[in-house]
């Protein structure tokens, strides 16, 4: 299952599987982001285009005020599909 937590440094930690059925749950947190934020993918096993759409929408919104999402610890599979989608051009990925 999917889980999303905010840690003591205000980084967002994702875990489990972010599929289309979990988008509303993710959006409840992502809609509150208003400044540059680190998203930790260390424990995220899976993401589909529904989840990727959330990231793109938030990145577009944040960019209007000079902020952004910074993505870290992507698994190989997630990194591959982010590359296919061109997300490595529009996100800072560590």
């Amino acid at each position: 299952m999917f889980d999303i937590k905010i840690d003591e440094n205000k980084a967002i930690k994702l875990s489990g599987r972010l599929d289309a059925s979990q988008v509303n749950k993710a959006n409840e947190v992502f809609k509150l982001i208003s400044e540059t934020t680190i998203i930790d993918f260390q424990e995220l096993e899976y993401i589909s285009s529904a989840g990727m759409g959330i990231f793109l929408a938030v990145q577009k919104r944040l960019s209007e005020s000079g902020h952004s999402l910074k993505l870290k610890n992507l698994s190989k599979h997630v990194n591959d599909i982010f590359h296919y989608a061109g997300f490595d051009r529009i996100f800072e990925i560590e």
């Binding site: 599929d19 289309a20 589909s48 285009s49 599909i81 296919y84 989608a85 051009r89």
Partner: protein, 144 residues
């Protein structure tokens, strides 16, 4: 109904037209992979591709109340995954839209990525429509 089917082995199951079916679908693919010793590196691509096609069927062919069948066929070299929906109008959900992945952030559009990524992950995608039923067949050559 949408039906889902997976060496020289076949798995087949029906799933309700709901995003809530995704968990059951992934359990189905997980069982099939385990029973047939399919190398794990292939699972992410298979699950993602099934999800994208399944959700597109729900979204773009809402006129049907039938469950969706998923069939997985496996031999030593490849997987064939078929998603079949019945009582629907013709709509080629594999009609891949253009996505400019090199566009700057301000020009990127939210949406449209699903089928684009499936096209990258699968080696072949086929669509057929007959007698008010559509069948999407995804073929993936197995990675070891």
């Amino acid at each position: 109904m949408i039906v889902l089917t997976l060496m020289n082995s076949t798995g087949k199951k029906y799933f309700k037209r709901s995003l809530d079916s995704l968990l059951e679908i992934f359990e189905f693919t997980n069982d099939f992979f385990l029973k047939n010793n399919i190398p794990e590196p292939n699972k992410f691509a298979v699950d993602l591709s099934i999800e994208e096609i399944f959700t597109n069927m729900i979204k773009y062919q809402p006129e049907s109340n039938d469950d969706i069948e998923i069939i997985i066929l496996c031999d030593n070299k490849s997987l064939k995954i078929q998603l079949i929906c019945t009582d629907v109008k013709h709509f080629d959900v594999t009609n891949i839209p253009d996505v400019n992945t090199k566009a700057p952030l301000e020009e990127r559009k939210v949406g449209g990525l699903g089928l684009y990524i499936v096209n990258k992950l699968m080696d072949k995608i086929d669509y057929s429509y007959e007698n008010q039923s559509c069948r999407i067949t995804l073929t993936k050559i197995l990675e070891t």
